[in-house]
């Protein structure tokens, strides 16, 4: 294949770029007001953002965890042994409290001189976490994950465990079969060192079967409310064994409004719940031609608390409270407590 043929195929694959004629004007306006760089509105009449927040239960009380996971774990799921997974790796993945739910694996792939072992995996409705052991220690593997239904398209993050071990966390859960197991295909095409240094290219593939832990929805959805000029549809608040996962559709937000951390979860005592990941994309109303999605993952799980939970976002705040105590959630146990409480914008 010659250069012209390759060029033609690449252009067909990427598509032709439609240069937006107003881009120079927008850039110039941005240069004049550089502090407003993140707040530029898109030329879309209606923008809706889907926000997903996952909160890890770093402070999760073990006794409550035991009770909770007994509710969440599928009956058919065997209790895997995770004694071979270093505690530092589990901590890096924010999974220390649910170590027994991590599936140990011993899958090895070699490309060139780089050996990668997939030593363990964990999955629930909000996260897919893979534990890799690198020999030699060349850095963090850049992985893409497919389940039986296709590519899992979500933001991801990586962290380091014991020397040579890395955790790759995708902010989306795989879709399991009826047996509660997801059949994943993991492809690694590069290894990125932490810090300066050249990346290592290669081709490593794994096909792990991973138990997908169940989730417990809090309340019934969707819930609609207004937040300033935004119309918010709270689509999901669910507890997985490891996180609290919140997803909302926000109608009227701009990308600038949501591209920074703008939403927090606070427990009943007013403490912010640590967020571990978040993402957002813009989507388009069905009547229009184009939409985007905003998706976010962050957090930490406020377990052992009772009473209300607040979600605060730029422009105001909203308080919701479960009727039942955490650890004993039940369908419909999530209700509006009086009128919406607005808090000043930050």
């Amino acid at each position: 294949m010659n250069d012209s043929e390759i060029r033609e195929r690449v252009r067909e694959a990427v598509g032709e770029a439609q240069y937006p004629p107003d881009l120079p004007g927008r850039v110039q306006a941005q240069l004049k007001a550089p502090r407003r760089e993140s707040a530029h509105p898109r030329a879309i009449g209606l923008i809706a953002a889907i926000l997903a927040i996952a909160v890890v239960a770093a402070l999760f009380a073990p006794r409550l965890l035991t009770r909770q996971t007994s509710l969440l774990q599928p009956a058919a799921s065997p209790a895997p042994q995770s004694s071979e997974i270093p505690a530092q790796d589990l901590a890096a993945a924010q999974l220390t409290a649910v170590a027994s739910l991590v599936d140990p694996l011993h899958l090895v792939a070699q490309s060139g001189s780089q050996r990668i072992e997939l030593i363990a995996a964990y999955a629930d409705a909000a996260r897919t976490v893979l534990f890799f052991r690198m020999t030699p220690d060349a850095g963090l593997p850049m992985a893409s994950i497919d389940d039986a239904y296709g590519f899992l398209n979500a933001s991801s993050s990586g962290s380091r465990g014991v020397p040579g071990d890395y955790v790759f966390a995708l902010n989306a859960g795989p879709r399991p079969g009826i047996d509660g197991i997801a059949h994943l295909k993991v492809l690694i095409t590069g290894v990125q060192p932490i810090g300066p240094g050249a990346s290592t290219q290669g081709h490593w593939t794994f096909a792990p079967d991973v138990h997908v832990q169940g989730s417990q929805p809090i309340g019934s959805y969707p819930l609609h409310f207004a937040l300033g000029s935004w119309k918010v549809t709270l689509e999901v608040i669910e507890l997985t064994p490891s996180v609290v996962h919140v997803q909302a559709l926000i109608d009227g937000a701009t990308v600038g409004d949501v591209e920074q951390k703008f939403m927090t979860l606070v427990d009943s005592s007013g403490h912010e719940v640590r967020q571990i990941a978040g993402g957002a994309s813009v989507t388009v109303p069905q009547a229009a031609a184009e939409l985007e999605h905003v998706q976010e993952h962050s957090g930490q799980r406020p377990v052992g608390t009772s009473g209300g939970r607040q979600i605060q976002a730029a422009g105001g705040g909203q308080q919701r409270g479960p009727r039942g105590r955490p650890g004993n959630p039940r369908p419909g146990g999530f209700e509006r407590q009086g009128p919406i409480r607005r808090t000043p914008a930050h």
């Binding site: 195929r9 694959a13 770029a17 850039v27 941005q30 290219q201 985007e292 999605h293 998706q295």
Partner: protein, 175 residues
């Protein structure tokens, strides 16, 4: 796509209008690169705007007498990499839209859909050289300037990427 050098000799670094006059002819190229790297038109626009803002802030460090284009393309490429990396807040494409686009592409030519998927699974460095070479039509010398590697390394990286894409190149004797 032409890559005529834009050499900057004397610019008032505090004048955004002058800065924009210099860079505006390069914006279509910058936008094209961002689209090639990020796939999403809106992400590409965001990346170009952020890159221009970075370029504006660091324009004082630009070496006068150098070519502006590789400098700008480097900043755009870095911004695109930053956008795709581990951001606390990251923009992901709508699964529904993606699948629709993929379905349409698959209906037209499954091989092109496969190539598209393969392109966006390439590591950033390899995707960058493929886009510079085959989407922006740059020479290997120009790619080398943009990526900060030697011309030989640029060729080698490009061919490795093509092998991964199963687009076996014909290597001419002069290369």
């Amino acid at each position: 796509m032409s890559f005529a050098p834009v050499v900057v000799r004397d610019v008032n670094v505090g004048d955004e209008q002058e800065f924009m006059l210099l860079l505006e002819p390069l914006l279509p190229t910058a936008h094209r690169l961002a689209l090639g790297l990020l796939r999403s038109p809106s992400d590409a626009e965001d990346a170009v705007q952020s890159a221009l803002l970075n370029a504006w802030r660091h324009f004082g460090q630009f070496r006068r007498g150098s070519d502006l284009k590789p400098w700008l393309l480097t900043i755009v490429a870095n911004e695109c990499r930053r956008q795709r990396r581990n951001r606390w807040w990251s923009v992901v494409k709508s699964a529904g839209l993606a699948s629709r686009a993929d379905r349409e592409a698959s209906a037209a030519d499954p091989a092109i859909a496969d190539l598209r998927r393969a392109l966006y699974r390439l590591p950033h460095d390899q995707r960058l050289v493929v886009m510079l070479r085959y989407y922006l039509d740059l020479s290997f010398d120009e790619i080398a300037l943009t990526t900060g590697i030697s011309s030989k390394a640029a060729k080698s990286r490009t061919y490795r990427a093509l092998e991964r894409l199963r687009l076996s190149p014909e290597v001419s004797p002069d290369e």
